[in-house]
Amino acid sequence: MNFSEAFKLSSLLCKFSPDGKYLASCVQYRLVVRDVNTLQILQLYTCLDQIQHIEWSADSLFILCAMYKRGLVQVWSLEQPEWHCKIDEGSAGLVASCWSPDGRHILNTTEFHLRITVWSLCTKSVSYIKYPKACLQGITFTRDGRYMALAERRDCKDYVSIFVCSDWQLLRHFDTDTQDLTGIEWAPNGCVLAVWDTCLEYKILLYSLDGRLLSAYSAYEWSLGIKSVAWSPSSQFLAVGSYDGKVRILNHVTWKMITEFGHPATINNPKTVVYKEAQKSPQLGLGCLSFPPPGAGAGPLPSSESKYEIASVPVSLQTLKPVTDRANPKIGIGMLAFSPDSYFLATRNDNTPNAVWVWDIQKLRLFAVLEQLSPVRTFQWDPQQPRLAICTGGSRLYLWSPAGCMSVQVPGEGDFAVLSLCWHLSGDSMALLSKDHVCLCFLETEAVVSTACRQLGGHT
C-alpha cells in the first residue's frame, strides 16, 4: 500500500472525475484539477469566493463550483480552460446546486426552497420548478439519467413529480400518502421509486415509474421510524434502517420484509467474527496487523500501534446511552450501504458508534462486526469488489474484506486525521481527506492484497 504526499484542501472538497482520470480539489477559492496517475496539476481555476460545493458533470468535461454565501455558481471546462460560465441567483439566494445527468443543465435551488432553476449550458432557456420540498433528499435521478424525481409540497400535502431529463417535461405528478415526506430514492434499475416519511412515522412507499403505488410498508407505530434507506445495486433488496436499531430488508417481488437485522449490544453467535481494534504501545514491537507503509520510512513513528484482534463470543459492544430529552437522538441505524455485488450490507447503529456491522445478504445473517477504538465517521465500499474502507477520524485507514481486516497508519508529519474518504472507481486507489489535506492511497494489486489478508487471517 502506497500513499501520495498530502495536498492542501479545504472544506473536504475533493472529487474524482466520473471517468476516473482526474481529481478535483478545492483550496479556499481555488479549484485544482490533477491527473490521477501522475498527480500533476492539469488545471487551476480561481473562483470568486470560497468554494462550498463542487460537482463533476457526468461526462467529466465540466465542474461546477457553488458559492452559496454569494448565491453564485461557476462552471469550468476541462477542455477549454478559457471557457467560463457564471450563474448568479441574485437576491433569491442559493442553497443547493447540482448537475443534471446530461451534464448540460444545472439545477439551482433557491433559499427557502422557493423554486428550482434549471439553467442550460446549451441554450438560453431557463426552466423553473416551483414548490420543491425542503427535505433531506428531495431530488433523485435514475441511474441512466433519463428521469428525475422531485419531492414537492403544496397545500400541506406531499407530491412527487417525475421529469424527463432530456427536455424537462413533466411525466408524472402524484401525491404521496405521507405526513411529511423526508426522502426519495430511485432503485438502480430506474423503475421503482422509494418514498419514505418523516421519522415520526414509520412508512415507506414504493411507486412505479408511471406513478402507480406498488406497495406500502410500515414496521411499527408510535415510536421514531425510518432513519436511513438503501437500495441494493441489483435492485433486488431495499434495506430500511430505523430508530429501533434494526434494518429491515424488503424484497422486490412482493415488497414484503424478508428479514430484519437487529443490532444487539452483545454478540453471541459463534459464527460471527468480531474484530476488535486494540491499541498497542510501540515498544512492544510492530503489531502483525498494522502495516507500516514502506514508502514512509522517514516519517516519525506513530505514537501507538493498533491492530485487530478476533474477540471470542459473547462480545459486548460499547454502547452510548441515548439522551432521550433531545431531538435527533443518537440511536438507530444511521448508515447503510450495500457492497457493489449486493452480497454484503454494512451498517452502523448510532448508539454503538464504534462498530460497523457487516451482514451476509446471501445467507441473511450477521457476517462480521468491527469494533473500532473511536466512533466510525464514514465507510464506503470498493466499487469493484466487496471491500469496505472505514475511517474514524484518526490517522488510520481500516479495510475489511471477507478474508479479514487490517488497519493502516496514514504516514505524514503529524497525524493525518482521516475525516472522510472516497474510492476511485477502479478500486485501486482512494482519496483520504483530513481537515485541510488530501492524500491518495494506492492499494496493491489484488493478489498482493489478498495474500496480505490471508496472512492477517492466519495471525488472528
Partner: protein, 577 residues
C-alpha cells in the same frame, strides 16, 4: 401472625390443657393454609411446653406463679383467682371455680379470635386479588391513556404544523413575488458561449409529439424491466422443474425394483397408484411437456411427485417397522430358549441338592443320637468308646465322601448348565438344518420328477418299499434307526441309495450316527447304552452322556461313576472336531 403468637403464648402460660385442646381445634379449622401455619408453629411449641412450664411453674413456685397469673388476669379485666380475702393475716385461698371460669372465658375468647382471624385472612386474600386485578386494569388504562395522549398530541402537532406551514407558504409566495417578479437583473447566467449537447444533437421543441414519445419510452422501460423479471422468474421456474423432474425420475427408479413385491403384499390402492404413476411418467417423458407451464402439467407433475413421495414414505416406514420387529423377535427367541432350558435344568438340580441335604441331615441326626445314648452308660462306655472311635472314623470317611460327592455334584451342575446352553444351540442348528434339508429334499424331488421321470420311477419302484420299511422300522425298532435318520442329510441319502442293495458297512453307520447324534437330541435320548454298544466307535460317548442326563438323580451311589463317565465324555467331546 404477630398477634396470634402472643395469643398462643398467653394460652400456653395459662394452662397446658388449653394448648392441647387449642391445637386439636386448629387442626380441624377449615382453612388449610391457616392450619398449616398453625401446625408448623405449634409443633415447636408443644415440644417446649414442659420445659417452658418447668421454667415458669414448678413444685416450688406454685404460689408465685398463681399470684402472677392472678395479676395478669386482673389487669386484663378478669375476676381474681383468689377467694375474697376475709382478713389480711389469712393466706389467700385459690378459687378453683374462678380459675375454671377464667380458663373457659379464655378459651371462648381464643375461639372468637381465631374465627375473627380467619375472616380477616379471607378478606385479605380477596382484597389482594382485587388489588392485582385493579393494578392490571390500571396499567392497561395507563397504556391506553398514554397512547391517547400521544395521538392527541400528534394531531395537535399536525394541526399546528399545518397552520404554520400555511403561514410559511404565504410568506414564501410573498417573497417569491417580491424577489422574482421584480425582474431581478442580478439573476442571470454569464456564459462565454453555449456548448453543444452531450449527445451532439440539437434540442428539440416541446410538442405533443415529444410528450407521446416520452410516454412511449417510459412504458418501454417499464416493459423491459417486467420482461427481464419475467425471464428471471422463468429461469428460476425451469430450474425448479428440472430439479423436480430429476427427483421424480430418481424416485421412480428407486421404487421400481420393489414394485412386484408391494403388489403381492400391499393392498390394491397402492398398486393402482403405482401403475398410475408409471403411466404418468411414460406420458410425460414421451411428450416432454416440461417446458409448458400450463396448469394441467403443473398439476400432473405435483400430483405424481406427491404420489411417489407417499409411496416412498410408506415404504420407508414399512422398512422401519420390519427392522424394529426383527430386532425384537431376535432378542426374544434367544432369551426364551435359554431360559426354558435353564429353568428346567436348574429345577432338576435343585431337587437333587435338596435330597442330598436331607440325607446329610438325617445322618447327622443319627450320629448325634448315637452320641447321646453313648454318654449315659458308664460301664459300657469303654467298650463303646472303641466302637465310637471306629464309628467316628467311618463317619469321617463318609463325611469326606459326602464332601467329594458334593463337590462333584457342584461341578456336574455347572457342566449341566453349560450343556443346556449347548443343547439349545445345537437344537437350533439342527432345526435349521432340518428345514434346509426338507427344502432341498422337496426341491430335489420336484426337479427329479420333472427332469428324468423314468429314472425316478425306477428308483421309486425299487426303493419305495424299502423306504417305507425303513420308516416303519424306525418307529418300532431303534436298531435300524441309523437308516431312517441318515435320510436327514442329502449326502447320506445318496450314499444309502447307492449302498442299499448291499448291506451297509459298520463304518458308514458310525459316521451317519455320529453325524446325527451331533444334531438330534430327541432321537438319541431314546437310545440306551446297551443298544449302542455294538457300534461303540468314536463319537458314541456323546450319546452316553445324554442317556445319563435323561435319568437325573436316580441313585446316590452311582454319582461317582456317573461323574466319571461324564468327565470322560466331556473330554472326548472337546477333542472331537
Amino acid at each position: 401472625m404477630g398477634d396470634w403468637m402472643t395469643v398462643t403464648d398467653r394460652g400456653l402460660s395459662s394452662e397446658s390443657k388449653s394448648i392441647s385442646q387449642y391445637t386439636s381445634e386448629i387442626k380441624m379449622s377449615p382453612s388449610s393454609l391457616y392450619s398449616q401455619q398453625v401446625l408448623c408453629s405449634s409443633i415447636p411449641l408443644s415440644k417446649n411446653v414442659h420445659s417452658f412450664f418447668s421454667a415458669f411453674c414448678t413444685e416450688d413456685n406454685i404460689e408465685q406463679s398463681v399470684s402472677y397469673l392472678d395479676q395478669e388476669l386482673t389487669t386484663f379485666g378478669f375476676p381474681s383467682l383468689y377467694e375474697e380475702s376475709k382478713g389480711k393475716e389469712t393466706k389467700r385461698e385459690l378459687n378453683i371455680v374462678a380459675v375454671l371460669n377464667c380458663m373457659n372465658e379464655l378459651l371462648v375468647l381464643q375461639r372468637k379470635n381465631l374465627l375473627a382471624q380467619e375472616n380477616v385472612e379471607t378478606q385479605n386474600l380477596k382484597l389482594g386479588s382485587d388489588m392485582d386485578h385493579l393494578q392490571s386494569c390500571y396499567s392497561k388504562l395507563k397504556v391506553q391513556k398514554l397512547q391517547n395522549i400521544i395521538a392527541s398530541r400528534a394531531t395537535q402537532y399536525n394541526h399546528d404544523m399545518k397552520r404554520k406551514e400555511r403561514e410559511y407558504n404565504k410568506l414564501k409566495e410573498r417573497l417569491h413575488q417580491l424577489v422574482m417578479n421584480k425582474k431581478d437583473k442580478k439573476i442571470a447566467m454569464d456564459i462565454l458561449n453555449y456548448v453543444g449537447r452531450a449527445d451532439g444533437k440539437r434540442g428539440s421543441w416541446r410538442t405533443g409529439k415529444t410528450e407521446a414519445r416520452n410516454e412511449d419510452e417510459m412504458y418501454k422501460i417499464l416493459l423491459n424491466d417486467y420482461e427481464y423479471r419475467q425471464k428471471q422468474i422463468l429461469m428460476e421456474n425451469a430450474e425448479l422443474k428440472k430439479v423436480l423432474q430429476q427427483m421424480k425420475k430418481e424416485m421412480i427408479s428407486l421404487l421400481s425394483p420393489q414394485k412386484k413385491k408391494p403388489r403381492e403384499r400391499v393392498d390394491d390402492s397402492t398398486g393402482t397408484v403405482i401403475s398410475d404413476v408409471e403411466e404418468d411418467a411414460g406420458e410425460l417423458s414421451r411428450e416432454s411437456m416440461w417446458d409448458l407451464s400450463c396448469e394441467t402439467v403443473r398439476e400432473q407433475l405435483t400430483n405424481s411427485i406427491r404420489k411417489q413421495w407417499r409411496i416412498l414414505k410408506s415404504h420407508v416406514e414399512k422398512l422401519d417397522n420390519q427392522v424394529s420387529k426383527v430386532h425384537l423377535e431376535g432378542f426374544n427367541d434367544e432369551d426364551v430358549i435359554s431360559r426354558q432350558d435353564h429353568e428346567q435344568e436348574t429345577e432338576k438340580l435343585e431337587l437333587e441338592i435338596q435330597q442330598c441335604k436331607e440325607m446329610i441331615k438325617t445322618q447327622q441326626q443319627l450320629l448325634q443320637q448315637q452320641l447321646a445314648t453313648a454318654c449315659d452308660d458308664d460301664t459300657t462306655s469303654l467298650l463303646r468308646d472303641c466302637y465310637l472311635l471306629e464309628e467316628k472314623e467311618r463317619l469321617k470317611e463318609e463325611w469326606s465322601l459326602f464332601k467329594e460327592q458334593k463337590k462333584n455334584f457342584e461341578r456336574e451342575r455347572r457342566s449341566f448348565t453349560e450343556a443346556a446352553i449347548r443343547l439349545g444351540l445345537e437344537r437350533k442348528a439342527f432345526e435349521e438344518e432340518r428345514a434346509s434339508w426338507l427344502k432341498q429334499q422337496f426341491l430335489n424331488m420336484t426337479t427329479f420328477d420333472h427332469q428324468n421321470s423314468e429314472n425316478v420311477k425306477l428308483f421309486s419302484a425299487f426303493s419305495g418299499s424299502s423306504d417305507r420299511d425303513n420308516l416303519t422300522v424306525h418307529s418300532r425298532q431303534p436298531q435300524k434307526k441309523p437308516h431312517s435318520v441318515s435320510n436327514g442329510s442329502p449326502v447320506c441319502m445318496s450314499k444309502l441309495t447307492k449302498s442299499l442293495p448291499a448291506s451297509p458297512s459298520t463304518s458308514d453307520f458310525c459316521q451317519t450316527r455320529s453325524c446325527v447324534s451331533e444334531h438330534s437330541s430327541i432321537n438319541v435320548l431314546n437310545i440306551t447304552p446297551e443298544e449302542i454298544k455294538p457300534n461303540q466307535v468314536g463319537g458314541e460317548c456323546t450319546n452316553q452322556k445324554w442317556c445319563v442326563a435323561s435319568r437325573p438323580g436316580s441313585q446316590e451311589g452311582c454319582y461317582s461313576g456317573c461323574s466319571l463317565t461324564y468327565t470322560n465324555s466331556h473330554v472326548e467331546k472337546d477333542d472331537l472336531p
